[in-house]
Symmetry: C2
Subunit: 190 residues, 2 copies
């Protein structure tokens, strides 16, 4: 095919930056990678990376196909009474898993971290730095409790959506919330 | 190599029965498969299947490389005060994941159910029929609570041993038990 010489459109540029981000995060880890390094690898100006994605956390979430923006997660947690954080977290989690696109991304993430050490390593860094760091800071919850809570959510996903064990797989959201939300809240109350 | 014509030894017979069991469980599901059918596929007498493995549950656990015998699980649960079932379950779980062979088997199981629909389906049937059925019967706990408890254990495994998020990954068993056992117990108390 003839080379057209046209400039890449925004969709291509975005995909190009994401590929560069995956390479940079893979090579340097979450802490070592920089917006500047990602922009360099993609051959674009760093301001373009900011324009498309925002912060490093957000580039990372997009590169990992992580279905939640850590900023939105923290906003959800803080948007209401402290005594209902567990319930709000669980509702957000069930809504994401109930929606076609995020649930596909979560499934892909579970598959890749279960079978690929590097993917597990990147997800670990992301959860430790971007998600749990922010959540524990916002709520003043000990880190071990916050990771235990996260572990419970991960396990719910495995049992409800991946292995689909009954009655957890088919229980209506409200029934599940009644049983599980108090447990999540317990982790936050200490 | 010359054909020796010798009869297969016990190790080979055992492996042969397991292969037949995987084929029969795969083709007929947990409920449909029978010791007789497995013996037929393996070309051995059904009593030999009983001799090597015991019950259908136990053949299934071995075929799936499930690291816990459901009978031993129930025995552990019942071997002590009801108020400490959560702690006993968690201790057993941590001991299994802390031992080289069972932990490898658990990891392989998580990988196969995350990526393989049929493996997920078999594990689901096994958990529903053989494990949760017995545990809920032994304890009189509603099934939804028992599956939520199981989900929490699965999530702990994912976060502590697969993704290895800190501080959950390195927390000493006793510290983890202090935080998590009361939550498991809560699911059992209702």
């Amino acid at each position: 095919m003839a080379k057209t010489g046209r400039r890449p459109g925004p969709t291509e540029t975005r995909a190009h930056i994401l590929a560069a981000a995956r390479a940079q995060f893979g090579a340097h880890g979450y802490d070592g990678a920089t917006i500047r390094g990602i922009a360099g690898e993609a051959g674009v100006n760093p301001s373009l990376v900011h324009h498309f994605f925002g912060s490093k956390d957000q580039v990372f979430a997009a590169a990992l196909d992580f279905p939640v923006d850590p900023g939105a997660l923290v906003a959800t947690i803080l948007a209401g009474p402290r005594a209902q954080v567990g319930e709000r977290l669980l509702r957000m989690f069930l809504a994401l898993w109930g929606a076609p696109e995020p649930s596909k991304a979560f499934l892909a993430l579970i598959r890749s971290v279960s079978t690929n050490e590097q993917a597990a390593d990147l997800l670990r860094q992301f959860l430790e730095r971007a998600v749990l760091g922010r959540v524990t800071e916002a709520l003043g919850v000990p880190r071990l409790r916050a990771t235990a809570l996260a572990a419970h959510l991960v396990g719910l996903a495995m049992v409800r959506y991946v292995v689909r064990v009954e009655p957890l797989a088919s229980a209506p959201d409200e029934e599940l919330i009644a049983v599980v939300a108090p447990v999540l809240q317990h982790y936050l109350e200490g």
